[in-house]
């Protein structure tokens, strides 16, 4: 269990406070709530992209909130996937591996496993800007997983996909998370995501302090 405490974000017109939130350290923990309720903001604070001096995020005895963004070793998949458009699918993943300074053996082993499970062979050398939605999503997932992150944070990763592709994408995510044994936090407002993926669920209203 990882524990988030004293999360507070002040905006001009509102303040978002979470006194305590316990996150599962296995499976997929869903944070659900309507659009605009602050789910993404909470995720951005956890990533370290929004400053919060009082935040504490204890994970296996370590306070991740004290670490700078790049040292938190999180895997992130945004709604828009945010691939580097000038790189190919493979270069996107390699960039992440280099950033985390993975040694050759580990990289080779993980990369072989990831590209196989995510079925990336056919588009590895395709520039990211011309990949299809599904391919972009798989590349983003591969990039997030390549360096074996502490936690995988997923911000509505299926929203930008066609309805027909979503079920397959959900199955793939579930399979990857189970096989890689990486805990994941999934932010969503889609009841199908909760139904198919949630190991545990927290509704945002339950953790927000009024």
């Amino acid at each position: 269990m990882s524990i988030v405490e004293n999360l507070e974000v002040k905006r001009e017109d509102y303040t978002l406070k979470v006194s305590k939130w316990e996150i599962l350290d296995e499976g997929i923990h869903v944070l659900s709530g309507p659009s605009g309720s602050g789910k993404t903001t909470i995720l951005r604070v956890l990533m370290g992209l929004e400053k919060d001096a009082k935040l504490s995020w204890k994970f296996l005895g370590e306070n991740l909130a004290e670490l700078p963004v790049e040292k938190r070793r999180l895997g992130v998949v945004f709604q828009t996937w945010d691939l580097f458009p000038h790189m190919t699918a493979m270069e996107n993943v390699e960039f992440a591996a280099r950033a985390r300074k993975l040694d050759e053996t580990t990289l080779k082993k993980r990369w072989e496993w990831i590209r196989e499970i995510l079925k990336m062979e056919s588009f590895l050398d395709t520039p990211a800007r011309v990949l299809s939605g599904g391919e972009k999503q798989r590349t983003a997932l591969a990039r997030a997983l390549i360096a074996k992150p502490r936690i995988l944070l997923l911000d509505e990763p299926f929203t930008a996909l066609d309805e027909s592709l979503r079920d397959a994408a959900r199955d793939l995510l579930k399979q990857v998370v189970e096989m890689d044994k990486v805990p994941a936090v999934l932010v969503t407002h889609d009841s199908r995501d909760i139904e198919k993926l949630a190991t545990a669920q927290t509704k945002i209203d339950e953790i927000l302090t009024k």
Binding site: M47, L49, V69, E70, V76, F78, F84, H86, F95
Partner: protein, 484 residues
């Protein structure tokens, strides 16, 4: 650490002319009130009439711009290029054309107004046509269904609707003309001395720096008020796809064609006459050769300095909000004020001209370049930079593999524009150097000594130098992109 220092460093560098003025405050002496008011009056008068006529003519030409169907892409592009051509070719080349066209040329306020209008009505037309598309686009379809005629729409809806935009463009043109240096230097004459020229005369000719400081402060105050008014009333232009063609008029196209044709005729006649007198240039052959090389050299050094600023900003990546606001709102100091700072700060030996002139150009152009898409493109990369940080990438890796590869071509294009501008310049070089070591300076000397035909011939070389400078940079960029 660097990410904190770079924004401050860039801001201080851009503000350095004003900072130098602050340090010189103790060293001031009041110029004569008569002289101050006379020069200020000339500046205001010429700026007011230049802006008024450029806007008036720009309005007519803008009607031409919206008359042309957007589907006729080639024709529309030619129209836009003709409108903006005077913005891209060196000022001295346009001056050569105008001085050859109108003989005898009425130096003084009238002369400045003529040249300013010729050089900027096209820019006014493009700016206005963008606003027309946005503002008129909202009501034009409705007006059409009501059976409103074009003239009635202009009178009752069109003009009242873009009143604010007209005012803003007027303000922009006014500030542009108020700080204009190169045009008054050549066609201002004794009777039309503006504040900008008076500052130049005080610091360069009569070496009365104490009076120059006071005049520069008056000018800074004026520029500050103008930029404050402009920022307060700024509107964003988001062109719409509404069909407002029926509100345009081919008269605008004809006006543009006639004005550009006369400019071309003036230039050609000067060129023919200059070619007949080409033997007179034999005295200058050596100077012209060196001038050609020096002009290109200045352009390339300017390019390097501009790239340093761009690379610095790209290294920072996510630009702090205060710096973004500063770069978006800051109106660069005038030419004479910027040069004044470098005249004081750096040694007077000729070799220093190769640094002083490019540095002055960077200060004069950096905020405008940031607004010409560099800032926006950098903002577009914010998510990618954040993503790279989350992935654990270090600053160097983010710069080398994420930010710079995606922004370098645009940065180089903007840098090439400034380099071309520096290559064809004579105004900054006139203040910061002691001899005619560039083609721009040689052309200006010929113009000032009433040898406009010979100036036409030299200006061809100048155009060649500018083109060489531009294509050298863009060619290098092309090769670099192919390699990577």
């Amino acid at each position: 650490m660097g990410k904190k220092i770079i924004p401050w460093g860039i801001s201080l560098f851009l503000l350095s002319p004003c900072i130098v003025l602050v340090f010189l405050l103790h060293h001031w002496a009041m110029p004569s009130w008569g002289e101050l008011f006379w020069a200020l009056g000339n500046s205001i008068l010429q700026s007011f009439f230049s802006a008024l006529f450029a806007l008036g003519l720009g309005f007519v030409v803008a009607l031409g711009a919206i008359r042309l169907s957007p589907e006729r892409f080639v024709l529309k592009s030619i129209f836009d290029i003709l409108c903006l051509v005077t913005q891209f070719i060196p000022v001295v080349v346009s001056l050569v054309a105008i001085l050859n066209l109108i003989e005898p040329f009425p130096n003084g306020i009238l002369g400045m107004v003529i040249v300013h209008v010729f050089l900027n009505f096209g820019l006014a037309a493009i700016l206005l046509s963008q606003h027309m598309k946005t503002v008129w686009g909202e009501t034009s379809d409705m007006a059409r269904t009501l059976g409103v005629t074009r003239f009635l729409y202009w009178r009752k809806a069109g003009l009242p609707l873009i009143k604010k935009e007209l005012g803003l463009i007027f303000l922009y043109l006014f500030s542009l003309f108020f700080t204009s240096f190169s045009v008054p230097l050549i066609v201002g004459g004794g009777r039309g001395t503006t504040l900008e020229i008076l500052i130049y005369e005080k610091m360069r000719l009569s070496l009365d720096w104490s009076a120059a400081v006071v005049l520069a402060w008056v000018q800074v105050a004026f520029i500050f008020i103008l930029s404050f008014l402009a920022i307060r009333n700024r509107t964003n232009v988001t062109p719409r796809n509404a069909n407002i063609q029926w509100l345009g008029s081919y008269a605008g196209v004809f006006v543009l064609l006639i004005l550009m044709a006369s400019l071309f005729a003036g230039y050609s006649s000067g060129l023919v006459e200059g070619w007949i007198q080409r033997r007179d240039l034999s005295l200058y052959m050596n100077d012209l050769g060196w001038g050609f090389l020096n002009s290109i050299m200045l352009g390339l050094i300017t390019f390097v300095f501009v790239m340093v600023i761009f690379e610095g900003l790209s290294w920072v990546g996510i630009i702090p909000e205060w710096l973004d606001r500063f770069l978006n709102g800051y109106l660069a100091p005038s030419t004479s004020l910027t040069c004044f700072a470098f005249l004081i700060l750096l040694p007077a030996e000729p070799i220093w001209s190769y640094f002083k002139i490019p540095l002055a150009f960077v200060i004069l152009s950096a905020p405008a370049l940031y607004r010409m898409g560099f800032g926006e493109r950098l903002k577009d990369l914010h998510h990618q930079i954040e993503q790279a940080k989350i992935l654990g990438a270090e600053d160097g890796a983010i710069f080398n593999e994420v930010t710079w590869p995606q922004i370098k071509s645009h940065a180089r294009f903007l840098g090439a524009l400034v380099a071309t501008w520096a290559c064809g310049d004579f105004a900054v070089a006139r203040i910061l150097s002691t001899k005619d070591f560039t083609l721009g300076l040689i052309t200006q000397t010929l113009l000032s000594t009433y040898r406009s035909s010979l100036a036409s011939v030299v200006s061809v070389l100048l155009l060649l130098a500018c083109l060489s400078c531009f294509f050298l940079i863009m060619g290098w960029d092309y090769v670099d992109r192919r390699k990577s």
